[in-house]
Symmetry: C2
Subunit: 205 residues, 2 copies
DNA sequence: TGTACATCAGTGAACGCGCGTTCACTGATGTAC
DNA sequence: TGTACATCAGTGAACGCGCGTTCACTGATGTAC
């Protein structure tokens, strides 16, 4: 529990949380350091005790997001073992679930314009998430005859792209762009068809 | 040719062009009405002779983008006729080509946060683009046995999502997120695998 | 346990800035006769 | 063709605002003895 009084106790995290909430509500454009400080019940100047500035605060939010994301993906991957197919499909679902459950993080990570190479820690966290998907893809592609096996990184890039596209276009209530289908179904069926195309699931499955 | 002198001649379009350039260079966040006016060689106040304000200017840029986009898609669709497959693949390529060639428009359309339902004209232009892809998908799905044919709108949503994901993640030089493969190849191969999954191209093609 | 002092995490006032928007204006252009 | 006038498309100054950031400060907390 945060201590109360003059000293906040856990202002750093409170600022990140406020930033995430704000990003979620107003988009990356709408985020301001002053407003985040206000929501954390603190003067804008106080932010500078914990962050270098506006960008640094967003970057830290993204960093935490990549951490959560990678954890979720890893958990999903392992939950599907020992079936390579189940593990892969679980990571796909985890992607969408993350975007749904942590929209603020998702936006900070992918839409805020901060570079993943801003700090080594950030890059590392991002790579970890990417590596899970790539590993799942590599496992699965063992079941494809070697000569017609696409590189695992291409395989995972396809899935990443479709997942991201579904999130951006259909999972968010983007104003006016109504989803023709529930995003979960859309992603699940899209991945299913793709995997069939690789010969990884039976045609009539 | 625009007339020179006190009166600009074609300020309206010059402002839209300046806005597109600015959006392309700085992202939706970085766009300001004042800077756009400056680039068009005009006072910020002059903008109000042609637009209601900042939002309206972006919306108009997006509107023109949807128009160009729909035209390109239609052209691609027709250029592939009478083969449903060729027509479909051409629209996929046209999607990426548009994003490449008109990044400012693309960002205004999909990342600026303006609603597609802002005006009836904007909604109409957006629907026209969407309709082309859906038509191409519908044509193509005629070749799938009816009982295992997915709805054309789902089919087209999958392709739209993958295309958008490729653009956002790999086609832009998003800072630090290097593409593992050329975006064209990635999209082409992804769509190829997907179509194979639908039984629309031969497994060894 | 009590006191003196160092450290820490906030405050609050101030800054310069660029923003979007408004307004009365004026110079350029188009039109009537 | 020339003149008078209406319309139009800009100017430029001003506004209020919220922003990110800085600074000297001060109240709260932790530590040594």
């Amino acid at each position: 529990m945060p201590k109360r009084g003059y000293h906040h106790g856990n202002l750093r995290q409170a600022l990140i949380d406020a930033a995430l909430e704000l990003i979620e509500q107003r988009g990356p454009t709408g985020f301001t350091l002053s407003e985040a400080a206000k929501r954390a019940g603190v003067t804008p100047a106080a932010v500078y005790r914990h962050f270098e500035g506006r960008e640094d605060l967003i970057a830290e939010a993204a960093h935490q997001g990549y951490g959560i994301f990678a954890d979720l993906m890893e958990f999903a991957y392992e939950s599907g073992q020992p079936s390579a197919l189940k593990a892969f499909e679980a990571t796909g679902r985890a992607y969408l679930a993350f975007a749904r459950k942590h929209p603020g993080h998702y936006i900070a990570m992918f839409e805020s314009g901060i570079s993943v190479n801003r700090t080594p820690e950030l890059a590392h966290a991002a790579n970890r998430a990417n590596a899970v998907l790539e590993r799942a893809a590599a496992d699965l592609s063992q079941h494809i005859p070697e000569d017609k096996r696409p590189p695992a990184s291409m395989f995972s890039a396809h899935i990443w792209a479709m997942s991201h596209g579904v999130v951006e276009l259909f999972a968010r209530n983007s104003p006016g762009r109504a989803s023709p289908f529930p995003a979960d179904d859309l992603l699940e069926s899209g991945i299913g068809i793709y995997l069939r195309g690789l010969g990884l699931v039976r045609p009539d499955e």
